[in-house]
Symmetry: none
Subunit: 206 residues, 4 copies
DNA sequence: AATGAATGAGCGTTCATTCAT
DNA sequence: TATGAATGAACGCTCATTCAT
């Protein structure tokens, strides 16, 4: 990918994050990049495409990670832990992407929106499936609603973009650990909540 | 409040929800309302004020509810349950307000933003305090991080605006119950996780 | 004239003076007056009429004064002195009217403009005639251009509205005296410039 | 300077002169120029900037000329003559600028107003100083008020914009000569008013 | 006489996009 | 590749004026 294209994305990202997609003009971007309108439109067919690329970079990365974690582990507990941990980490690596992703997706053109939606749905599916499997194999409680629990977990993690600060008191790994701890306490079958049994499950992930 | 003002808000809400604050022009609003530009600006000093009113309606309602629940109950478990249940219900009553609240707050003018932020912070404080108290009185686990757990709960519930549909398979009350169940499993002290003890706690809220 | 009408004029005057006719809205006027839009339009057919009334008040007063001075004196020197002195005094009495008159006349509707122009021309004519007479009867220099000298005098006096301050170091009467002194030095026939002769002319006015 | 920018100024000038700054819309300007709104705003940051540029063009030219005349001559009489003559000439060269300058300065933004005011004050200072010097070295009468006389001269000349027409009976040079004649008669010390002495002073300028 | 909600044409301005160079 | 002048539709907003009450 051309250096200028990269530089445009890197410059636009924090601008979009701070001021929103509509709060930043193409002019402002090209001025800060040090290029021209023509330079911008040589690399992007429209401002919308830039928005799409930002969305796609993030969601593709997340989806890929989730698929890896999904393939690597067998037990649903392990899978879910790995997915959550890797997902949480993304909030440190891609914070501006994510802010833009969640704030501005409404302004994506339908054609772009569709592409993004498909990847989002795939990601969601992986999580739902892990919960479903955990329930069926008896690792998770039998009385949880897969759908709502999945959305609860997604919400808990996704919301991180609203408050996470790299300079905060907890590292992103610690936050991931806490989330995993909360989630497992919430959904693990009672038989695993025995202190020792639980510890062994947790330890098996390290 | 003037009927026209009300009608403008009611008309703008779903438009903002669907197309974003910047995706809807004042012209579009007044056309759909059946009034004129002048009519709009007779009732709102700016498009921004309309955005603010939407924000404020929602956050004021939420804060008031949380304060009531906070005052009504003594035990942290009871408090937290009541707050979460009433909060979740808001996602049914005020869904369009909430979508606009979370999507478009970035476009609020600083003066408006400040007012909103104060109420948000008060609401957050009530939740954090309930968790802190639950930890100190021994109802909640000793090893949870108040701050991160609070944000996790907020995220779990807030995220609802992204997926909740009134026509979905679960009612808003059922969703609230599930969230409470997940949260209590996640943070209640082990001694309450005994099936019976837990049931009695849950039942005491009904 | 109705009290409200008077109050509207008195309120509008300093506003127009400070911010210009276009810098002041009807709303601003009625708010400061303490009446309503309807109240305004009950007394004035339009904002233009208010502008016209302000123009006419001033120019009518000036013209009347000039006609009196013109009728009262016989010698052109005496006439010119009296006209200038009374004209200069108007800049103290009607300063806001005058500022508006000179700044905003461009925005008068043609029909109004015409009425004002006629009175302005009559006033100018009185001055020109005094100069012409002074030249013909030998009191003034023979080599002056009546037209240009008249406009020079008008300019000298009119410009006062740009700088005159009631709290300044000179009173309006002193300024009038100075203007008369400069004018007479500039146009009196040499034979009157003999110190004594000149003094007697000047004294004859007191 | 871009051709379009020049053309916009040249087109706006007579429009502003005839109808006032508020009587002319940007639309009207761009239509008459044969460009677009975008074209206008590519060259001017605002309609205000256009107004400022017109003001500044004129006042900068006048100030520069006055400074040259001030530097070129030694005797206050010579200085004052040169300044007045060059100033009067400007009313032929820059009539539309001047009309706009005096009619619309009230609508300049404070930041622009300040810049203009500084140059106006410098120009005024040059005239005041010439009169002061003439008084001190004995060329001018001892009994004149520098401040009021200065304003009288400024008024006499400035007012020209209200009536001067290029097709009038007097050329701009003749008007300048008449003004100088009137001014010198008004303020020269008596000893120079001897016909011959005066003539020699006047001639020395040619 | 007086009100103030409502009007709607028109304003100054923005900005994604194009295209001759 | 890259430029930046030019476009023009659309924007948020103003305000003199009207009119039902």
């Amino acid at each position: 990918m051309s250096d200028l294209r990269k530089k445009i994305i890197q410059t636009a990202l924090p601008l979009f994050e701070a001021k929103g997609f509509h709060g930043v003009s193409v002019n402002e971007i090209v001025e800060q990049v040090g290029t021209s309108k023509g330079g911008f439109y040589h690399h992007f067919s429209s401002k919308d495409e830039l928005l799409f690329v930002i969305h796609d970079t993030f969601i593709s990365y997340v989806l890929e990670n989730a698929e890896k974690a999904n393939a690597e582990f067998n037990s649903p507990t392990d899978k879910l832990q790995a997915i959550v941990r890797s997902f949480v980490k993304v909030f440190d690596l891609y914070k501006p992407h994510i802010s833009v992703f969640y704030q501005e997706h409404i302004y994506l053109r339908p054609a772009y929106e569709l592409q993004i939606k498909q990847k989002r749905d795939q990601f969601k599916q992986i999580i739902m499936q892990a919960i479903e499997e955990g329930k069926q194999c008896g690792e998770f409680r039998q009385d949880i609603s897969v759908e709502i629990t999945g959305m609860a977990i997604l919400g808990m993690v996704n919301w991180t973009y609203k408050w996470y600060q790299r300079e905060g008191v907890k590292t992103i790994e610690e936050i991931g650990d806490i989330f995993v701890d909360l989630i497992l306490h919430a959904i693990l079958h009672e038989r695993f909540l025995d202190q020792n049994a639980f510890a062994s499950i947790l330890l098996s992930q390290k």
